[in-house]
Symmetry: C2
Subunit: 341 residues, 2 copies
């Protein structure tokens, strides 16, 4: 069957090109991979593959290089999922198990991912929106000054200072504390917000419970603060050094993107794509300047909820099977850890 062999040729081209970074020719191909045909035959297949847009040649009389479309086919149909070695699995487990808090989990994940894949790793902090309120604490720091601490089911803790106009007795503080907790604990963020808002009558702005209003306002603000949704950790930028030549065309735009967390979030993919492992290759992405970079990402979170996403960013010419395996493995372990917490 010639159709089958053609795909085998494409796979071989992708693998060779990824390994050597050089356009691959028909002769080298038959030597390295054990396809039992002659170079001439492969040439015919290559011509066909080129007609269909899967490969291209940098210049006449050079070897072939996969196009984005070629990588796409490779990822969708040809990539055998390369399982992690048990040693790697163990490494993932031990490194992540040592984490002490949420920030630590995220930081370790970034490191791990970038080391496993030798690419730039990106991990989004678990978003607030799906999590529930575990506890609210109100502390009198000083006269006229309260500290409000918001603890969420993901383990995230947000704290805010509140300046108030009057002093509070210990009893009043206790009342306030239980009031807001009754309204918010156990609720999902959105519901907690409406619950809290209900505590403050809108028609009575300046009253005895101006303090309550101020605290509620701060809590609502902390909950709906999209700044926290945008939090992201990046690691492994040093791996960009391996890009080699095309500095201006590939490294510079990526380096710029890494500082624009909004851009990164968009790259990681909308949360709506859920848990699925997604691969975005070159021009498929939303940014013209990043046409020569690919993204491998997936959602993660406790249970089957995808609270956030993590993944890696690298050149289109990357080891897709390896990257996909690493991303998926790390996402699984992180999710498990969030489950336990």
């Amino acid at each position: 069957m010639q159709e089958e062999r053609r795909l085998a040729v494409l796979r071989a081209i992708v693998e060779d090109y990824v390994a050597t970074d050089e356009p691959v020719g028909s002769k080298a191909l038959v030597e390295r991979h054990g396809l039992g045909v002659s170079p001439a035959t492969v040439r015919n297949d290559m011509a066909a593959l080129e007609d269909e847009g899967y490969i291209t040649q940098p210049h006449t009389s050079a070897g072939r290089v996969p196009t984005d479309k070629g990588y796409r086919l490779f990822v969708d149909k040809l990539a055998s999922v390369k399982p992690m070695s048990t040693a790697e699995k163990r490494a993932i487990a031990t490194i992540l198990d040592g984490a002490v808090d949420l920030d630590d989990v995220v930081n370790r994940s970034v490191r791990l991912l970038s080391q496993l894949t030798r690419q730039v790793a990106v991990v989004q902090y678990p978003t607030l929106s799906r999590s529930t309120v575990r506890h609210v604490e109100v502390i009198a720091l000083a006269p006229y000054r309260l500290l409000v601490v918001l603890i969420l089911s993901t383990g995230r803790v947000e704290q805010r200072l509140v300046e108030i106009s009057g002093d509070l007795s210990e009893d009043e503080l206790t009342d306030l504390r239980s009031l807001v907790n009754r309204a918010a604990v156990g609720e999902i963020i959105a519901d907690a917000v409406t619950g809290l808002r209900g505590l403050v009558p809108t028609d009575q702005p300046e009253g005895a419970n101006a303090t309550t209003a101020a605290v509620v306002e701060t809590l609502v603000e902390a909950m709906s603060d999209h700044r926290s949704d945008e939090r992201i950790a990046v690691g492994g930028a040093a791996n960009l050094a391996r890009y080699g030549d095309n500095f201006d065309s590939a490294v510079r735009p990526l380096l710029e993107a890494l500082e624009e967390h909004v851009v990164l979030l968009k790259l990681l993919g909308e949360a709506t794509t859920g848990e699925m492992l997604t691969v975005r290759i070159g021009h498929e992405g939303p940014y013209q300047e990043l046409a020569s970079t690919s993204v491998v990402a997936t959602g993660y979170g406790p249970g089957d909820e995808a609270l956030a996403r993590l993944g890696i960013v690298g050149p289109t010419r990357m080891d897709y099977p390896g990257s996909m395996a690493a991303v998926r493995a790390v996402a699984r372990y992180v999710s498990r850890i969030l489950d336990e917490a």
Copy 2:
């Protein structure tokens, strides 16, 4: 006086080289800068400067380039402090005034510094060691589970979970809370640690106050956690793109260093150097691989205490007067903000 003119020549060489990135020759020098002498004279001066090690030529019959020693002299003796424009000052003020908490201040500072200098900016979070304890809060999250919140004078908040073996009544909790607060509030970290340790008799490991012991242990750990001392924010890595050619020799090692926060801390300089603005040029630094990068850094903090350091990292061929002015200006504004908090 010929000695004076020599220094003028050195200054001109540094300025020209920084501006153009090309070895500067005698002819171009007299044209650009209005020294009223002939190229031949300048050549004599250049020969002398080269003998003394301040400049060098990449190859025979090329222009001159400053050596590290040349930059050193320039920074120490020749650099006129370039004051910030009022527009820049206003920009600094408005950007930093918008910050909502300590993290935000640090993040904004990094951005600001990297934009002002077009270099990589590094800001160390205010260290714990010199700060005092403002408040400790103990919260019952769930049975057998406490949240301990530590609030420091720098505005930093650390929280830890504590698993305890028994349940606690509301009264016991209140007692515990006031106990630890009495021992720690107002004290400098080191003293707070000994104060807290004093609450737990060492010879009575398993007793009624195992809970107290656990809480104290957690607090002490949080206070002496050097992980927090190492926290650092980095920004403006995209500016590395402007390094141009020497990718391997300059960009790669720096990119690697930026991920090693320990290395960065060392680069910023020991806290003992205090508030002073320090400039470390090329080989003067502790790292062989970073021989072609310079660091401009200074301490900052509320009052006259240098709680932490901030600065920029760039190629030895950089605009020292501009960088120094920017670093100093940002440090001042950040310190002022910490004063207010």
